[in-house]
Amino acid sequence: MSTPTTASPKKRTFPPPPPRLFGPRSLASLLDLQPEDTVLLLRPDQQLVDSVALRGARPTLVVPPKTKKHNRPKAPHILRPDTVPGPLPLDDAAVQHIIMPTASLAWWREPRWIDELVRVLAPGGSLLIGANHRLRTPWRRATTLTSSGARRRLTTAGLHVAHTYGVRSSLRELRFLVPLDHPGARRWFFTSAYPSPTARHARLTTLLTRLPRTGLDRAYFPQLLLHAQRPYDAPC
């Protein structure tokens, strides 16, 4: 007597979700991506990889050597250097854009790692790099990273810093990218866009609207995003 065979359930297929614009994946919208551009992604998430691919560019990932497989985003081009940060297995001027949403303190403390990014970046290419004011070593000996310090290090490496964005996520789950180089936009953010969650915040915000850009801005923008470009006349 043969046992009845049951048909295996048909696997349901869903259409791919549309690209998400905000969060780390919104960074791709800040760049002028052209089809077939190569975009080097350091510390990416899958959404960022997808958003770059959806714009016709070619995402190339840098994955630290000990990254577990289930934590690794999927992409057609994956580089596995021996150490991260470290020398990148790429030719000079090989990529048109670099996105590093969260750069660890190691990247910022060693000028040679920034130089390594500049080496692989083509003239005219863009670098989006994140910086966190609250980065510390485990022993808390490192100083905090200021926006001027971050700009200085990129400028020293031969890049032109086009924009510095303050990144803010509020209690209401809204997130803001504020161009800190534009005093009017910064002031409007403090006066009109930011709902103060506490009385202390409200007083400090009122104070900041009357001041030019100072170190106090760090209280509101713990994370920075720097948009730098490599000049066309830069030597390769």
Binding site: P19, S26, P179, F189, S196, P197, A202
Partner: protein, 331 residues
């Protein structure tokens, strides 16, 4: 993508755009990115060089599901531009653009500060300021009301009872007494007729900008051409009450805000009820029916029948049910 959006704006600016806006948009532009709770949505406030206020607001959506909302807002802004009294009280449309698979709506930015931000910065004279805010809202509603056609919508006492029965647990404190009281009031007032008018759909203080020229309102995605305005007024009053900081919390709990606005014995509750009654009289409804219509509108919200943009959401209905239950228990 921002550059692509600005290029689209530069290249195809309609002739109806005010000259000073068009001139400002020709200068170098930068933008603040305002994230939205909606995934797939991005909003930019665009600034011209050396400008302290945004010139335009660009709303971009990649999701086909939500793109009709942008088209709806674009149509709403065009219709509002036809109402003379609404000049400067709502954004002017600049255009609707397709950027690949995304849709972008461009509109002028409104001057002033959002009401919820202002409320979070007031340390003194809150009572006088709140009275002024409510007066400004009533002026704004009067301007919007000039688009009224004269049609009405009845408030059916039986429908109110049914919705109360759905929303309220009969065993919860005060629920049975409230239902009985509402049945009595329903018999007393019968079918009340609420005049319809254009509705904003999401009259939250965060969408209301106040400045020297009074109140102006943004975010017209939930626009309805004609509908009963009671839910809209109640939405504003409730959200305003919960945006007023208290001694215990700078951002009060929604239930605490509702209690302060409608149930407590304080200046805010007196102001809220005063505005509610005044609006009813403006609509030709008896002020004595204030409590009846308030509970009926709360029941509409709790069962998803309110004429607002987010009334159909389960979370919204759950929140309004909690407020109705609180009202039944503490009225």
């Amino acid at each position: 993508m921002l550059n692509a959006a600005l290029s689209a704006l530069h290249s195809d600016l309609p002739d109806t755009v005010p000259e000073h806006v068009a001139a400002t948009l020709q200068r170098p532009l930068t933008a603040i990115t305002l994230g939205s709770r909606w995934e797939g949505r991005i909003v930019w406030a665009v600034f011209a060089e050396r400008s302290r206020t945004p010139t335009a607001v660009l709303k971009l959506d990649t999701r086909p599901k939500y793109q009709p909302r942008l088209r709806k807002e674009h149509e709403a802004l065009h219709q509002l531009a036809q109402i003379p009294d609404m000049a400067d009280l709502a954004p002017a449309p600049l255009g609707l653009y397709s950027l690949g698979s995304a849709l972008m709506l461009a509109q002028t930015a409104q001057a002033g500060v959002p009401l919820h931000v202002q409320l979070s910065r007031r340390y003194w004279r809150r009572r006088q300021s709140a009275t002024r805010d409510h007066a400004r809202l009533r002026s704004w509603l009067a301007a919007l009301r000039t688009g009224t056609t004269g049609a009405t919508t009845p408030v059916d006492p039986e429908a109110v009872q049914q919705r109360l029965a759905i929303a309220l647990d009969r065993d919860s404190p005060g629920a049975a007494a409230l239902q009985d009281r509402m049945a009595e009031l329903g018999d007393e007032f019968g079918h009340l007729h609420v005049p319809t008018q254009p509705l904003h759909g999401d009259l939250d203080p965060s969408n209301c900008f106040t400045g020297r020229r009074g109140l102006s309102v943004v975010d017209w995605e939930g626009f309805t051409l004609q509908g009963p305005p009671l839910a809209e007024v109640l939405l504003f009053l409730n959200h305003y009450a919960r945006a007023v900081p208290t001694r215990d919390a700078w951002v009060p709990d929604p239930l605490v805000g509702f209690r302060n606005g409608f149930l407590a014995d304080g200046w805010l509750a007196r102001l809220t009820w005063g505005t509610w009654r005044a609006e009813l009289e403006q609509l030709g409804l008896p002020a004595e029916a204030a409590e009846y219509l308030l509970v009926a509108t709360l029941a509409d919200f709790a069962t998803g029948h309110a004429s607002t943009a987010h009334a159909h959401r389960k979370g919204s209905q759950r929140n309004w049910t909690e407020l109705l239950t609180l009202y039944a228990a503490e009225r």
